[in-house]
Symmetry: C2
Subunit: 229 residues, 2 copies
């Protein structure tokens, strides 16, 4: 009969959705709620904390808890490895390396990653296929100063993405989504028309303050990134 934190969370949520506690209004404090639900304050606290994490309510000491004016809801996207993304759809995954070269970092990349003057980078062009159809084009740059082991990898069997997640366990990431156009080369890779709109993800990765890699992932025309909340 005692309420669990999930019960409490669900009940508060329903009070908000049904308008019983309108946006901007003050919610009873934890002690009162604990008595209402017949549970310990920690239980209420956990429920409220999760609701606050979800962006539904706003909590301030002494001021109390309020329903957010504009529910600043957050969309969460899983950023999976391409292989997993494709195999999850039940399609067969195939990887192919199109080009591999060690060059000195171009200016735009140095700016983007905050690289110091001189520096070699490993530049890779890869394709990922789902059931034989082109799925994603990967334009990858790896900072050799940060990851000298990359020099000895040929990336013929395994894509750089999988190698990287296995090599660097954790890192700081900046990710950005945008829309672009298929140029001639991309059109060839995707067997699509030049000028087709393509969805693009760019990701910069640092590890312990040092730039590790930059990648531009271009999806085949028509790709969508979808989520619910």
């Amino acid at each position: 009969m005692k309420a669990t934190y999930k019960d409490v969370k669900a009940d508060i949520l329903s009070k908000i959705t049904k308008g019983e506690w309108p946006t901007g209004s003050l919610i009873p404090n934890e002690v009162d709620l604990a008595e209402t639900y017949g549970c310990a304050r920690s239980t209420v606290n956990r429920a409220m904390r999760e609701l606050a994490d979800d962006g539904l309510i706003e909590r301030r000491r002494k001021a109390g808890t309020r329903v957010r004016m504009t529910p600043i809801r957050q969309a969460r996207f899983d950023i999976p490895v391409v292989r997993a993304e494709i195999e999850e759809k039940g399609a067969a995954y195939r990887y192919s390396l199109a080009d591999r070269a060690i060059v000195s970092a171009p200016d735009w990349l140095r700016a983007r990653l905050n690289l110091s003057e001189q520096g070699e980078v490993l530049h890779l062009l890869c394709m990922h296929y789902a059931d034989g159809d082109p799925y994603q084009h990967e334009d990858r740059w790896i900072n050799i100063a940060a990851l000298p082991q990359a020099r000895d990898e040929d990336f013929v069997q395994t894509g750089p993405n999988e190698w990287l997640v296995a090599t660097i366990p954790f890192s700081d990431v900046e990710i950005s989504f945008s829309a672009g156009l298929a140029d001639e080369k991309l059109a060839e890779y995707f067997a699509c028309a030049v000028g087709d709109p393509v969805f693009t993800i760019e990701r910069s990765t640092w590890w312990e303050g040092q730039a590790v890699t930059f990648v531009r992932l271009t999806y085949r025309p028509g790709h969508r990134l979808t989520t619910r909340y």
Copy 2:
């Protein structure tokens, strides 16, 4: 000197990032860790729970806790109201209604929102400007059966987005990102070229199982959605 859950979380995290606990390895159980850090088990539990929420570790009863093989990291995007998005950049916000009409729902919309046969919808075309420059085009459809009050709103001063978040406190949302091309009309709105790539967000909203609204938000060419994690 006692460790807080943040201390514990940070320490575990560093052990993972530094490779001391490699991916796939088993982490000591909560009781042992509590002793190590000189704190209560609940404290360790909270640290571990948050790490699991963040997708860094995987926990199973009896089996214990492991470092995830592929850190299934999640990107979280705030989905703000356009006005807030623009004003946060320090730009002046201006809204303008381009068209307003009540029509019977087109087939594609009925399919998209799971609408029943007959049904009128309010169709709005709006523009949002930042410092006078076109910023976002809003193609909005509102289900009048679900929101009869919409019929009496003229949406001349206030955009439908702000009206909706004030009217419906909370809802189920499906959101999807994609890349598109500017057609002739959009090119006029944005003063850009036909065929320019545009970033598009589509959002369907339900409330208590009933379809409320569908919107296609198109950003001016060059727009990026960026986040860190």
